[in-house]
């Protein structure tokens, strides 16, 4: 049996129950939220529901501290995005913001209290060179100097090696696709770019269309090996589905788009675990339409057992004896999905035995 649902999940599903918690409950809840990186998000949720006044002062104080951090983070992201837009303005090409930066600039629910360390953008593969050059001129530099790492990113990955600003130390990831070149799934970036929507008031900046945004978030989460922020990422999808779910035609579009981009499997998992962990409302018709990504019964039982553990906060109160194994198996699976086995073996061999020696001073 997977561990009992953490208090954090109960409150995310039913925020109105927050008023009934004891001081000891709050103590545990805030530690779970802290280790899931969801403290500021919890503050935003309780604030939006007008529930902050119902909770004990000491707990409210902690949530307020996180709220200040969240507010400052949103400010910093908007400022940093303006610097990026300025650096790339003369190229005259569309810049698509991904994930956290997109939620923040578009004012979408997952931006409330979401903390992240880098800004992700997507451009056409043919524009990569000039984007990299323009960013370098504006003060960003590549962080991976090792020749092997450079080749790893440029030949096999879906992004340039991460770039860091020399003075501000902010990070930017420049993507040309949403999955590595080596992954089995290859959603066509041209389709994603063609459907992208302009950000009102932000000339030259775009985000993915609503359905694509959900699919990207789902693909990212269910192809990622390190699920330390798994619950936060699942909460992002939950927030997007709540926000876009009421728009006419959204659910049909989501199912069709998943087929077009070959992303039925990640969408299936996203809807399944959103419903199971966060009680996300999904219309019955949409559930059925998105069922084409359902794996076989045995595989699904295994994935349920793994994700039911690995998607919980990384806190001792949310773990059982199998949690470390579940996280490790999902880490292996993610690498497997991102690279063919032989290439993966070669890459891991290089990382284990050759890279450290190259990194040592000559």
């Amino acid at each position: 049996m997977p561990p009992a649902p953490p208090l954090l999940l109960t409150v995310l599903r039913h925020p109105e129950q927050a008023g009934a918690l004891t001081p000891a409950d709050w103590d545990l809840l805030l530690r779970q939220a802290g280790s899931a990186n969801l403290m500021a998000a919890l503050h935003a949720l309780l604030q939006a529901r007008g529930l902050l006044a119902t909770i004990p002062a000491a707990a409210r104080e902690q949530l307020d501290w996180a709220g200040v951090l969240g507010e400052r983070h949103r400010q910093a992201v908007r400022w940093e995005v303006r610097r990026i837009r300025l650096a790339l303005r003369d190229l005259g090409i569309p810049i698509i913001l991904l994930k956290g930066a997109a939620y923040t600039l578009a004012g979408l629910p997952p931006a409330q209290g979401r903390l992240f360390s880098d800004i992700d953008i997507l451009v056409a593969e043919s524009d990569l060179d000039q984007v990299e050059a323009a960013l370098m001129l504006a003060g960003w530099a590549s962080t991976h100097h090792d020749a092997y790492d450079q080749r790893y990113y440029r030949e096999w990955m879906h992004e340039l090696p991460p770039m860091q600003h020399m003075r501000r130390e902010s990070l930017i990831d420049v993507h040309h696709a949403i999955l590595p070149r080596t992954a089995a799934l290859q959603p066509d970036p041209r389709l994603l770019r063609a459907a992208a929507v302009a950000l009102p008031g932000e000339a030259g900046l775009l985000t993915f269309a609503p359905a694509d945004m959900v699919l990207h978030s789902a693909t990212h989460l269910f192809h990622d090996g390190e699920l330390n922020n798994g619950l936060r990422d699942l909460a992002d999808i939950h927030g997007l589905l709540l926000h876009f779910g009421g728009q006419p035609g959204f659910w049909d579009q989501l199912a069709q788009r998943a087929v077009q981009l070959h992303l039925q499997r990640p969408l299936f998992y996203a809807l399944r675990y959103c419903q199971r962990l966060l009680a996300t409302p999904v219309p019955a018709g949409a559930s059925a339409a998105c069922d084409s990504g359902r794996p076989g019964a045995a595989l699904l039982a295994l994935m349920d057992a793994l994700f039911a553990r690995a998607l919980l906060p990384d806190h001792p109160s949310c773990q059982d004896a199998f949690t470390p194994a579940a996280r490790f198996l999902l880490y292996l699976r993610a690498n497997w999905l991102r690279m063919p086995p032989l290439l993966l073996a070669r890459h891991l061999f290089h990382k284990a035995f050759l890279s450290p020696r190259e990194a040592a001073p000559a």
Partner: protein, 306 residues
């Protein structure tokens, strides 16, 4: 409410090693858990007057000090500080367990309590008016602070963390042991003979460190806020004559901002709060070599304009 001092030493050590204790310091509660004897010794000596909360009460910070399970355990034993089971600093020699707890608790407050503008400064109060002593390490801030509260009749608000609440512009007390370094330890031991001091710990990153117990009266009044009145930047210079020079508000503002932990994080709120503080206070540069003269100079500070 139960105090740390009301527990027998063995009982305190057992609770620390068992479920941990919930220690109330100013506005914050820390759940502290450790089986290290020197830490229990430091807590018993310096935190005797602080309230203990019940095991099912809410705690702001969860700190644990443990001995890492490595081979060094037998040769050079170490201590590791965990924040809710995550390691936050590099391990230190086991003997430094108590100073590590003090630094860890400072880190908890200064990196999280964003309702306050947090200045790295000592702060003391007399007659409802607070004196802020910001300073980079080595300026003699803690020595002055220990002398002011030990002998000058000032109330201790904090030796390290000046908490300026953003909504009301008042200073919120966090009285905790005063940290003394190197020569200061001997100076204060002589200047404040009744001071209760912890055993000096040698070879820390700050040299030799000892802590002076906060006056019981300051701890009892840790719920009372104070109004900022003076900002004094002290500098100890051997043999220097006592000199108090007025400082232009703009300079005081910049120097205070440089000594803040979260000034840039708070953005406009931090700017407004710090501006208000400087406006309502008188600011000085202060040079001294004799504690008697320093205390006398602080007693003669003119009241700030209303």
């Amino acid at each position: 409410m139960l105090n740390v001092g009301s527990l027998a030493r063995a009982e305190l050590a057992a609770q620390l090693a068992g479920a941990g204790i919930r220690l109330r310091t100013g506005a914050f509660t820390t759940c502290l858990h450790s089986a290290i004897p020197s830490l229990a010794e430091g807590i018993a000596l310096l935190y005797a007057d602080y309230p203990l909360l019940a095991a099912d009460d809410f705690a702001d910070f969860h700190l644990q000090l443990v001995r890492p399970l490595n081979a060094r355990r037998w040769i050079k034993p170490q201590v590791k500080l965990l924040y809710d089971r995550r390691s936050i600093f590099k391990p230190l020699p086991l003997d430094q367990a108590f100073p590590m707890f003090e630094w860890g608790l400072n880190w908890c407050v200064s990196s999280r309590a964003n309702r306050y503008l947090i200045v790295h400064a000592a702060v003391v109060e007399k007659g409802g008016r607070a004196l802020i002593l910001p300073a980079p390490p080595g300026s003699g801030k803690s020595t002055l602070c220990a002398a002011l509260v030990g002998r000058g009749g000032w109330r201790l608000l904090s030796d390290e963390l000046t908490l300026l609440r953003l909504d009301d512009g008042l200073l919120h007390p966090l009285p905790r042991p005063v940290s003394l370094k190197n020569a200061s330890i001997e100076i204060i031991a002589r200047y404040v003979p009744q001071a209760v001091m912890s055993r000096p710990v040698t070879d820390t990153v700050k040299g030799t460190v000892a802590h002076m117990r906060a006056p019981a009266a300051s701890i009892a009044r840790s719920g009372e806020t104070a109004r900022p009145a003076w900002v004094v930047f002290p500098r100890y210079e051997a043999g220097a004559a006592t000199a108090l020079e007025p400082l232009a508000p703009a300079h005081a503002f910049m120097q205070l901002a440089q000594n803040c932990f979260n000034y840039s994080l708070l953005g406009a709120h931090g700017f407004t709060a710090l501006g208000g503080l400087v406006e309502r206070s008188l600011s000085y540069n202060f040079r001294y070599s004799l504690l008697d003269e320093a205390l006398d100079a602080f007693d003669r500070l003119p009241p700030p304009p209303l």
